[in-house]
């Protein structure tokens, strides 16, 4: 009798639902649309199961990298956090995030396009719900009036053709016809302009071994790209220091080289008049960057299984599609894209998806990336301010090679 009672009580205790455990997540703060969409995704996860309750902390974007670095150094990272893709290999090499392999590999990871995954030496470390694409924006009516042809996926502008177009516009009286967002610093520079190197046949570093930048970053092809970049400023085709970010929307500039995050703002203003064209090609096909904010699991996470569940939820086709529809950002899987009116075949955003599939190149997946990016950014800055391209690139290469030497090649 006592035994039966005991067993009954034990059974009852096991059957009673335990209070959901907290799963800590950090994300960077950004525009309202994304924040709301993100919050809704979390809500849906919390509702769909009762074992875990995701608790999100949002940190300011401007200092996100420093905050996460400081937390990593003191072992205070949350279970799940979002990271800007190019910094993932660095965090992985430092041991702060764990590989999403084996039991931790989220289902659906294989369905993602290249820009939705981040790996180091073949192991998966982060996955993303959306990606961003670089585009050359213009307005149909303006191009028509000036007699300029519209670039298409099959027939993008060549670099020389594009510069001639800009010169022509300048002769017609347009001041600074191209807005290159010259005042933006930081990762934007490498993100936006290293694809030009790749389009010319050069690169930031040799991707076969990840150990050599000399002859790659300062090759003659790379020099032509930087000379071209400099000429845009020297000839005043683009402004070194634009007063604000409204040159394109206010009609001062004819072309704007920007990320597709600007699409919703531009489309609201220009509606069907808006053109999103591929960037100019520098000899080979045009190239664009890839990889935006992605989700990773920290090494110190006490319940990685739960983390995997949450991440899996985020990259399911349904969730990606929902996120995309609420923010306008591009989905990272075709299945999801087909579910959205903007990115399905025939939708006005499908071009972006095609750009990504055809032209996207991830930034080099090496722990040396922060240094590579910072060196490249410095070289571009020097050239933009009137420096010599060869000198600038040599300096960047020197810095990268020395760093690789000091760190024994980062284990490659």
């Amino acid at each position: 009798m006592k035994y039966l009672l005991g067993a009954a009580l034990a059974l009852a205790a096991m059957a009673a639902p335990a209070a959901p455990q907290a799963l800590h997540v950090w994300r960077h703060e950004t525009g309202d649309l994304e924040m709301v969409a993100s919050a809704k995704a979390v809500e849906r996860f919390n509702r769909q199961q009762s074992r875990w309750r995701v608790v999100v902390e949002t940190l300011p974007q401007g200092s996100y990298q420093q905050a996460v670095t400081a937390a990593a150094m003191t072992g205070k990272l949350p279970c799940v956090l979002d990271l800007d893709q190019p910094s993932v290999p660095n965090f992985a090499w430092a041991g702060h995030i764990q590989p999403l392999e084996g039991k931790l590999r989220p289902a659906g990871a294989d369905a993602l396009i290249a820009g939705g995954r981040s790996t180091l030496k073949g192991k998966l470390y982060a996955v993303g719900q959306f990606d961003v694409v670089l585009a050359l924006y213009a307005r149909k009516s303006v191009l028509q009036k000036a007699g300029i042809r519209v670039a298409s996926l099959e027939q993008p502008y060549t670099a020389t053709e594009f510069r001639d177009i800009l010169r022509q516009l300048q002769k017609q009286g347009v001041r600074y016809p191209l807005d290159l967002n010259g005042q933006r610093n930081g990762e934007w520079v490498t993100y936006a302009f290293s694809p030009w190197l790749q389009s010319a046949g050069a690169d930031l570093i040799d991707r076969r071994t990840f150990k050599v930048a000399d002859g790659v970053l300062n090759s003659d092809k790379a020099l032509t790209v930087l000379d071209y970049y400099r000429s845009l400023f020297d000839e005043r085709l683009a402004s070194r220091k634009p007063v604000d970010e409204q040159a394109f929307t206010s009609g001062r500039a004819v072309f704007n080289y920007n990320g597709s995050w600007a699409d919703s703002e531009y489309r609201k203003k220009f509606k069907d008049d808006l053109l999103a064209m591929p960037p100019p090609a520098f000899g080979q096909a045009p190239r664009i960057g890839a990889g935006s904010w992605q989700w990773a699991v920290s090494s110190s996470c006490p319940h990685p299984e739960a983390a995997r569940q949450f991440v899996e939820h985020l990259i399911s086709a349904k969730e990606i599609a929902a996120f995309s529809m609420e923010t306008g950002l591009m989905p990272t899987s075709e299945a999801a894209a087909d579910m959205t009116p903007m990115y399905r075949v025939g939708g006005y955003g499908r071009d972006y998806f095609e750009f990504a599939r055809r032209f996207a190149v991830l930034r080099p997946e090496t722990p040396a990336y922060p240094l590579i990016s910072s060196s490249f950014e410095r070289a571009m800055k020097e050239v933009r301010e009137g420096g010599d391209a060869a000198e600038a690139l040599d300096r960047a290469v020197e810095a990268i090679q020395q760093d690789l030497k000091r760190n024994r090649g980062y284990g490659f």
Binding site: Q66, T69, A72, M73, N90, F91, A94, G95, H96, N185, S239, R240, K241, V243, P370, L371, S374, K381, E382, E385, G386, G387, D388, A390, E391, D394, R395, E398, A399, Q402, D403, R406, N407
Partner: protein, 352 residues
Amino acid sequence: MASDIKHFGHARWSEVAALLGPALFLFAAFVLLPFIMAVGFSFTNIKLLQTDKVEWVGLDNYTRMFSLKLVEAPAALVKVQQNPARQWRQLKRADPVAFDGFQYLTDLELAGSQYLVGARDPQFLRSIVNTFLFALLVVPLQCGLAFAMALWVNQKFRGRVGLRTVFFSPVVTSMVVVSAIWGLILHTDAGLLNQLLRAIFGEDAAQPDWLGDSRLAMLSIAIMSAWQGAGFQMLIFLSGLQGISNDQYEAASVMGASAWQKFIYITVPGLKRTLVFVMLSTTIMAFGLFTQVDVLTGGGPRDSTTTIIFHAVRVGFREQDIAYGSAMTLFFFLFVLLLSFGQKKIMERLGS
């Protein structure tokens, strides 16, 4: 009572401990200790995120800072290539092992021949020059301005409180906002300053590129820094001025002294200590210039505004090489320490 002496003298240890103790403890824990750690870092190859895989490298970081290489440029090369940076590049391509790690810094003419100087970190060496230049510009400007402001505001007139507040307002405003607004004022095309020049001197007036011209950028930052910091120094001067007792001025009035005489014989001597303090602290703060450069120019154009601390932070935080960054900041500390002592000695000698 037994240990008390006639003049205000020796104190008991317990008293000293009670008064000095808290501050000393806080300094030891939160300034001295991290400093010693930073010194330790400078002898290793520690990276920002990797506080475990650390190796001792001895003086490597220090040699990196100061390594120089002097080469004579062969006459044949000089004839073909005028640009010294390109000359260096040629030599390096020809002998990569000997030139490993060295980049072009500058060139000299010695005894008729062309010499090229390379360094392992030319930006660091340039940053020392830049920092000196900045201090030379900003210290007289800021201290002079602050002194004038304090004297002005110390007089009795209507609106002195308002003026005092106005002078102090740049200090109070957030650096981000100040830099953003100054960035707009100094903008080459649409900026207020250049527009003013156009208004005064006509459409053909010179439109300097305040932040984009490597010769002007440091000057612009110096002016902005002086403008922003003068109010702070003004406060110090004010408290010094308040310390000069009224009686001295009254006695001087009774003796028929003019305002100028009162200034020379009462105010200036009374402010000697304050003056030394202000010049010293302004110099120290000037050497540590970082935030304005970070926000306005990012070290450019062409490295002309890169200061020692800016370079150290860029290397340490952004390129993650905190060992090297620590070495540079240690050098900075010793450098400024020596300089400050030198300055203090000179000023005290001049003052007496």
